[in-house]
């Protein structure tokens, strides 16, 4: 199953780095309704469904669609109406039987084939696969070995074998086909069972004490259904084709039956008189039916798969950005002023996920952006770098890089800046590195792209960089692949890549969240050392107030798409002004196990449910009617010290502070 969307994923920090368009903008949506929406949105799938529906009608009530008896012909007409006429829409066959009605009745034979073969295939394949996958080990190996032997036999051969043992008929042939097809279902079922068995919720069910049969029935089979339905559609097409082939060869349906394969076979005798005409109706029915099943199978598979469009980080173009009314900070390495970012939604009303975010980082300074997931901290960094994921849009604001306005640069111009003037460090170092390319080569990449170094110089520089980020034995490590690096070492490589072109600004998005705590310390030390040596400005984005306390000079606390408080790190930790900052600090456990933790009730609301007034008001113990009705403006107390709260001044006085901490 895919990751949830909208409101459902607000409080897991692991996902904060990957807030995609769909995660933010889409309303809560059940996986099931999403599948249907996508399926009906696909025109080919819709056509296929209509076709299959018509076939089902032709199968269940052929009289509704057919005009005449498919078996009774009028011998007198036999030579007159071979081609279409007003009376006989598709003409008649050589025995004077209405060709149109025969094609309609043919659907029944096709579905009969599917019904027999599929029920045998699923009836044998699914239980075998479930058993094999659940048992695992040696049992699984033996069963799958037998299954693979059967799998390697041609399907038609098995059908012939059954016909030889019993007698030639479509039913018997389909029994053979069903047995052959069961191997496909067994494989699929086993693969799903093996995968599901490792799922945490199966462990949870075992811990609860549920029996194996209950777990299989209630937990594994429901997850088996989607891939099974896909196979169902694809294999149905194949079964119709095999049935028609066998009938064509004369070992399937009876010679008089209105079966499409039989009709194709008979059309050969009429070939001299009417040319290829008689091949077209049954042939067309076959082709369209098989095509419809295959298209339907593909469409179902696509619609239950992960949403690709929301997954890729496509950058949105910047069209009309309203300018900011706040002046930029003098001499800042990066300065963002009152930035709004909006995402369109299905109902047409855009959702604002960043509202008036401002930040500034001075040369050689570290700015920490801290917030819970859903606060918009990662989106702030992405948008400042011109990387607002599509279909999101920066609608207001101004961005300056080292005094240069970069608000509406094109993606091409940005590419010259990113990697050269700005280095970016990501949360998952291993995921950022290409597993198929040697690490050294990946560090050389930005050097070759942004500088005029040749390969040899770039290699030497890359070794220097690895040494600088304290990767032991850098020359040897250059020729290793990413999987040979531990998480901590891979993050050092990530930092080396970010530093390659000696940028003046480093942006680190949760750079230590995926690392162990003892390794985290090493990486933070490294970042601080680099800053000391090079005077780099660093913007570090994290959910961990401890990391902020460790490295940041200045802090911006974000909540629900807004900066709520900004200032010097020491001041914010010593004397937090905003009730949210205060509550966040108090809710962190600190070793002493006697006292109860302070709790912020409720959770961060989704962007579509942001309250009208102060966004923190519903969770704030000091909230008044003013807070609930009126949006607090960001108040600038002095340069770099900001607060967004109606009551911060009253809350600063000692009397209320006592109430606040009680």
């Amino acid at each position: 199953m895919t990751a949830p969307t909208g409101t459902t994923d607000n409080d897991s920090p692991a996902t904060s780095g990957s807030e995609t368009a769909a995660d933010i903008a889409a309303p809560p949506d059940s996986p099931r309704s999403r599948v249907w929406r996508r399926l009906f949105g696909n025109p080919l799938a819709l056509l296929s469904m209509i076709w299959v529906f018509l076939l089902v009608v032709a199968w269940i009530w052929p009289e509704v669609l057919a005009t005449r008896d498919p078996l009774k012909g009028d011998p007198a007409l036999q030579d007159l109406n071979l081609t279409p006429s007003r009376e006989y829409w598709l003409g008649t066959d050589g025995l004077g039987r209405d060709y149109y009605s025969r094609v309609i009745f043919g659907a029944g034979f096709a579905f009969q084939s599917i019904a027999i073969a599929l029920s045998i295939a699923i009836g044998i394949g699914v239980p075998v696969g479930l058993f094999s996958g659940w048992k695992g080990g040696r049992v699984d190996r033996v069963i799958m070995w037998c299954n693979d032997v059967l799998f390697s036999l041609p399907i038609v051969l098995l059908a012939f074998a059954v016909i030889m043992i019993l007698e030639p008929s479509l039913v018997n042939a389909m029994i053979g086909v069903g047995i052959a097809m069961s191997t496909r279902f067994a494989r699929l079922t086993r693969a799903v069972t093996l995968a599901e068995k490792e799922e945490l919720y199966v462990d949870a069910a075992r811990i609860t004490g549920l029996s194996s049969s209950t777990i299989l029935r209630r937990y594994i089979v429901p997850n088996l259904l989607p891939p099974l339905v896909v196979q169902f559609a694809l294999i149905s097409g194949a079964i119709i084709l095999i049935g028609a082939t066998l009938s064509f060869l004369g070992v399937g349906a009876n010679l008089d039956d209105p079966d499409w394969g039989v009709m194709l076979s008979r059309s050969r005798t009429e070939f001299r008189r009417v040319g290829i005409w008689q091949i077209i109706p049954p042939g067309g029915a076959l082709v369209f039916t098989i095509l419809a099943f295959n298209l339907l199978g593909d469409a179902i598979r696509d619609s239950i798969g992960r949403d690709r469009s929301s997954n890729a980080l496509t950058v949105s173009k910047r069209s009309s950005v309203k300018p900011s009314d706040r002046a930029h900070r003098e001499g800042a390495a990066l300065s963002v002023r009152t930035m709004d970012v909006e995402f369109p939604t299905q109902d047409g009303k855009p959702v604002q996920i960043l509202s008036g975010v401002s930040l500034a980082v001075q040369p050689g300074e570290t700015l920490g952006i801290v917030g819970e997931s859903g606060s918009g901290k990662s989106m702030t960094a992405l948008s400042a770098l011109g990387l607002t994921p599509a279909p999101g849009q920066m609608t207001r604001g101004s961005v300056q890089l080292d005094g240069r306005d970069v608000t509406s640069l094109s993606e091409k111009e940005w590419q010259k800046i990113r990697g050269k003037d700005i280095g970016v460090i990501f949360q998952e170092p291993i995921a950022v590195l290409n597993p198929a390319i040697k690490v050294g080569r990946q560090i050389m990449e930005p050097l070759l792209l942004h500088t005029d170094m040749n390969k040899k110089q770039a290699r030497e520089r890359a070794i220097e960089l690895l040494a600088e980020v304290k990767v032991p034995d850098p020359a040897r490590r250059m020729d290793q692949y990413p999987h040979e690096f531990s998480g901590g070492m891979a993050q050092r490589v990530g930092i080396a890549m970010a530093l390659a072109c000696e940028p003046k600004l480093l942006i680190a998005d949760e750079p230590t969240t995926a690392l162990d705590v003892t390794v985290q310390g090493q990486i933070l030390d490294l970042l601080m050392e680099i800053q000391e040596q090079r005077g780099t400005s660093i913007v570090i984005i994290t959910h961990d107030l401890g990391v902020i306390a460790e490295v940041a000079d200045r802090v911006i606390v974000m909540y629900a798409g807004q900066g709520v408080e900004g200032g010097l790190a020491d001041d914010i930790f010593d004397r937090p002004k905003h009730p949210y900052t205060k509550a966040l600090l108090e809710s962190m456990p600190s070793g002493q196990h006697t006292d109860r933790l302070t709790v912020i009730p409720g959770m961060v609301p989704a962007p579509s449910d942001w309250p009208n007034g102060c966004r923190f008001a519903p969770r704030c113990q000091h909230a008044t009617d003013l807070c609930r009705n009126e949006v607090p403006e960001l108040e600038v107390i002095e340069a770099g010290v900001t607060i967004r709260c109606h009551h911060w001044q009253e809350l600063q006085s000692p009397a209320t502070e006592e109430v606040g901490t009680a």
Binding site: D9, L200, A204, T214, L545, A549, R596
Partner: protein, 352 residues
Amino acid sequence: MSEALISVENLAVNFAGRGRMFGPPPAPVKAVNDVSFSIQPGRTFGLVGESGSGKSTVARAILQLVDIHAGTIRLEGEDVTRVARRDELRFRKRVQAVLQDPFSSLNQVHQTGTIIGDGITRHKGTKGSERDNEVRRLLDEVGLSGDYLARYPYEMSGGQRQRISIARALGVGPKLIIADEATSALDVSIQSQVINLLQDIQKEDGVAFLFIAHDLEVVSHISHDVGVMYLGYLVERGDADSVYEQPAHPYTEMLLSSIPVPNPAEQAVRRQLRKAFIDGEPPSPANLPKGCPFANRCPVAMDICTEEMPDITPAHDGGAVRCHLHTSGPELGGGSVVDFIKSQARRTADAS
């Protein structure tokens, strides 16, 4: 000491290497080695360690989800190392778990009523509206309204899902709940809600917890007793305050000084302490060194540390530590190692 609810003695878990087509099978990975601890009824034992330390494997061993190589686990005096099939239900009724990932530990195809209710039906035979009422009572206990009965996991946030997991565990009426990184994936403000909830439940139902996490601050906040794991070994064990304030193992001290605290002044002190430790990474569990597995990162390692695996020696009051410093070298005798590390660090600083 009163009778322990659960006691784990000399537990060892090996993972067989992946079978190869040719040649001998690879040596097994020793995930858990010689781990012993016990939990009293109604108390919380915290197990802390970094990834690869084997802390989750200990949980899975108790929960019968992995094969146990050696050692004994006793539940209320009864041997539950390998629970026979006919005893499994009785065992499951007493030991429940809340697992880490609040999303994947709930099956997406079922509503809350089924997720929580399945266990109730299994263990108590309650069905229909009676079962629904029981589920509503449990939802109320974990702070959710009865409306959640008909919700699917994807309609809930991480914190809510974790409450459902807790309700599912409680529904069976267990004496021990194993919480394996149960709060690690949650935001700070949600984490504190869940931690308080667990403490409330303990106060009310008298259930014992095995609380497993990588964050020593969280673990020592919630636990009465704490065990610290490193590379499959329990390197230190003792009551939470002692371990937190007077760590007897250098690794515990490293772990403590590595956790950043939201207080710049204190953080500067921790950072200074952290500098004493050697930049380096733990050896691979598939290829453990002969001596102490922490020796290559330990600032106060002695010659004996790379030669011999230290034995368990008493530390704190009733605790234990696995470190040579307490029996040879400075012979700290189970006391805090902090001052010794500081003095050694000063000496190296002076020398250079």
